[in-house]
Amino acid sequence: MDTSNHWYGHAHILSEYCGLSFEEPRPIWGVLQHGWNLLHGFGPGHAPPYGFPKFVWSHANLRRAQAIGWRDYAVIGAPWNYLLELKKDTEPVPEAAEREGTIFYPFHTWDHGQVSGDHDRLIAEIRDTEDGPVTVCLYWIEYEMPEVRRRYEDAGFRVICHGRRGTLRQGTDTRFLHKQYAEQIRHRRVASNRLTTAIFYGASVGSEVAVYGDPMTFSDVRDASVRDGNEQARRLFPEFHGVKTDAEEVRATTVRELGLDAMASPAELRALFGWEITG
């Protein structure tokens, strides 16, 4: 099984949705898309082996993959969608009046990269923009960098982290998305300095969304070795960019990009993942 299937507890949520164990998901025959992106569902350096099923969030990912000759794709929507399905009765999204403040997700780095940007400038922009209490959610790497974390704390923001995504099935916070869900549904707004997965998640639970501020970038993008994608995202999805956004437009795009209209039934997922014993 591809170890990225466990990141953020994706495999766990899908397993629970299929009526199987949350704690010990069975190996998925294939690889799951683990975050929203402007590619074929996987990172620039991630090339799943030939003949290995690929489970992506949206038809846009599928089309991009087909364009470069990749096959064996199934569009199933984001694991987040299935969490929403699981939560709809036990922990429904509260009314808008019961939600307050903004949760802000600064653009984050990853295990093998480094983000370059001006956090102080971003903090100033958040202060100028948001009128309610602000929660800043840092990725675990920045959360464990005191020099970054302290800046946001000193600015008077509540600073949190949803957990670690884990590597090689070690250290994964399997309830990462549960925590993210709990935080997002208590805030009225979800914002970021980049169009990221969290923004789509926010839109899916009825939050106002906004993308503004210093977009920052990966350090290695400065030497043009990695495609940044920020400008492309602005061109493709202008409806998300700005301090105020149109809820209806945002919602329509979110349905497409998260594949909320492309969810599979538990039986289909079991069949796709090889979780069904067939003979």
Partner: protein
């Protein structure tokens, strides 16, 4: 040569120039136009005509259906054998039979209805130099009134279907399987060209022009219909080409790939899609919005998983709602109308008992269609027809297994077979039906692979045995060394600490080069390690 210029024969039919002896188009190995689809067009053309002209050979059943519909009927045939046959058959009817080349005949009354359902290939004599299609069509127009009704069939020599069909008979080398290839530069290049020549409405004919099971106007003829009715002879070789055929149909358009075309001008309106169902009965399909479920499924399979799931759900709901309506249908007989699936005709055939079985059978055929049409690959690998059916069923929470699917298919095919029908999408040949030489080759390959697997297993076992032996030996060595250490510890503990210190000091004063040389001796380093460990333990014991 027989002398046919007798009073009796010439009294039975008119003879004009170009009449042929010792020849019969009606009993020729080549098929004659017939069947319910062509008959429907023939009747619509002939009904209430003042003068019906039938040119070229036609199947007697078809002639029976039209003779008597018009006030007067003239049959033009080029051979005496055929002229004799039909003149006797219709001796008591108002039928004039003419024997000879069409170009030699001049009617005393222009025809207001023309049937040429065999095309224009067998209306002129072979005793003269051949004439092209255009010349004959121009002549035919001169024999008719300006606004005459007509039904003219035009074969499509470029049809991939016709060409695929031509592949197999060559191997048999039978006269009956051979036909003279058409190399006529004046032959219409397409349906639009043919329609323009006669100013009529064009239909595509499937799978061939002799006995089409489907006639559809180009805009109503979907790829699904074309595949369902135009699929080539069911042989393993040709079946491999079906995805290519589907692609060609999709790209070229169905009209270019049709087995032939029919140009018509009739008084009665004929539906855009006219065919016979699988039990052989004539049926007119009205495809609402010109949409077929199989095509919608194919379109969705590639890039619209949500749409695919929606179609399956609609089908499931429809079958659950009224299983009787769906019991006798195959997958290509389902239309889509305003988002609802609709059966395109009624069928008395029983292909399933329960709603679940009917639904699964239809899904199985849809899966087969996706595979045939070459759309399996967008799905995760390793999913053939059986597993794709399971997956499609799973989209609506119906849990089944490939074994269940095969069982349902078996029952369905048995029911079809008992009604003289064939499955819409043929399954792959079972080993028993396969070519024996191919089967032999596969068996040999299988045997060779089995041998390789056995060899690998033996290698694995050998390695496991070796590993086990090495591990046992190592365990034995470690045990011996532990015993030795114990002995040394006991010996050393008996001596005084000072002597131990002395030994240690001596050891440390040995020059580096000498120590290095000593270290090269086999087992010296290990002995030194053991010694150091023993000394350490002794020191600790003494300290206590």
């Amino acid at each position: 040569m027989n002398d046919i210029d007798t009073v009796a024969k010439s009294a039975a039919y008119e003879v004009v120039s170009g009449d042929m002896y010792d020849w019969s188009d009606l009993t020729d190995a080549r098929a004659l136009p017939h069947g319910p689809v062509l008959t429907r067009f023939a009747v619509a053309t002939a009904s209430d005509a003042a003068h019906l002209l039938v040119v070229g050979p036609h199947h007697l059943d078809l002639l029976d259906a039209v003779v008597g519909l018009a006030s007067r009927t003239t049959l033009v045939l080029r051979t005496h054998t055929d002229a004799q046959l039909v003149s006797e058959r219709y001796a008591d009817r108002t039928v004039d039979v003419v024997c000879g080349d069409l170009r030699s005949w001049t009617p005393d009354q222009p025809a207001d209805a023309v049937l040429a359902l065999d095309g224009l290939g067998r209306v002129t004599t072979i005793d003269a130099a051949p004439v092209d299609w255009h010349t004959i069509s121009v002549h035919l127009a001169r024999l008719t009134t300006r606004d005459a009704r007509l039904s003219v069939v035009v074969p499509n020599p470029g049809s991939p279907l016709a060409q695929l069909r031509a592949v197999t008979p060559e191997a048999s080398n039978e006269d009956a399987d051979w036909s003279f290839p058409i190399h006529d530069r004046a032959h219409p290049r397409g349906l639009a060209d043919a329609s323009a020549r006669f100013a009529g409405r064009g239909y595509t004919l499937w799978p061939d022009v002799d006995a089409p099971t489907l006639a559809a106007t180009p805009d109503a003829c979907t790829v699904a219909l074309a595949i369902a009715h135009g699929r080539p002879v069911d042989t393993p070789t040709l079946r491999e080409l079906q995805p290519v055929l589907a692609q060609a149909l999709d790209t070229l358009g169905t009209a270019a790939a049709a087995g032939g075309w029919l140009v018509t001008r009739t008084a009665d309106a004929i539906p855009a899609v006219l065919g016979v169902d699988r039990s052989g009965n004539e049926t007119s399909w009205t495809a609402p919005d010109r949409s077929w479920l199989v095509e919608a499924m194919r379109d969705s399979a590639r890039r619209d998983a949500a749409g695919l799931r929606r179609h399956v759900r609609r089908l499931r709901d429809a079958v659950d709602g009224d299983p009787e309506r769906w019991r006798g249908l195959q997958a290509d007989e389902i239309g889509l109308d305003a988002g609802q699936v609709v059966p395109l005709h009624d069928s008395a055939v029983k292909l399933g008992e329960t709603a679940e079985e009917i639904f699964l059978g239809l899904l199985d055929e849809l899966a087969a269609y996706l595979c045939v049409a070459g759309w399996r690959h967008p799905w995760p690998a390793g999913r053939g027809r059986d597993e794709l059916t399971v997956l499609l069923a799973a989209t609506v929470e119906t849990v089944t297994t490939p074994a269940d699917v095969r069982q349902v298919r078996g029952r369905r095919e048995a029911a079809l077979s008992s009604n003289g029908m064939t499955p819409v999408f043929a399954r792959r040949t079972s080993p028993a039906e396969a070519d024996t030489s191919e089967l032999r080759k596969l068996l040999d390959e299988n045997e060779a692979l089995r041998g390789q697997v056995t060899w690998f297993k033996q290698q694995m076992r050998q390695r496991q045995t070796m590993t086990h032996e090495v591990r046992t030996a190592a365990r034995r060595d470690v045990a011996a060394l532990n015993g030795r250490i114990k002995d040394l510890e006991e010996q050393l503990s008996a001596r005084e600490a000072t002597s131990i210190s002395r030994v240690a000091q001596r050891a440390s004063t040995v020059p580096g080069r000498a120590r290095a040389r000593l270290g090269r001796l086999p087992g010296a380093r290990r002995a030194a390690r053991l010694l150091r460990r023993a000394l350490g333990r002794l020191r600790r014991a003494i300290r206590r």
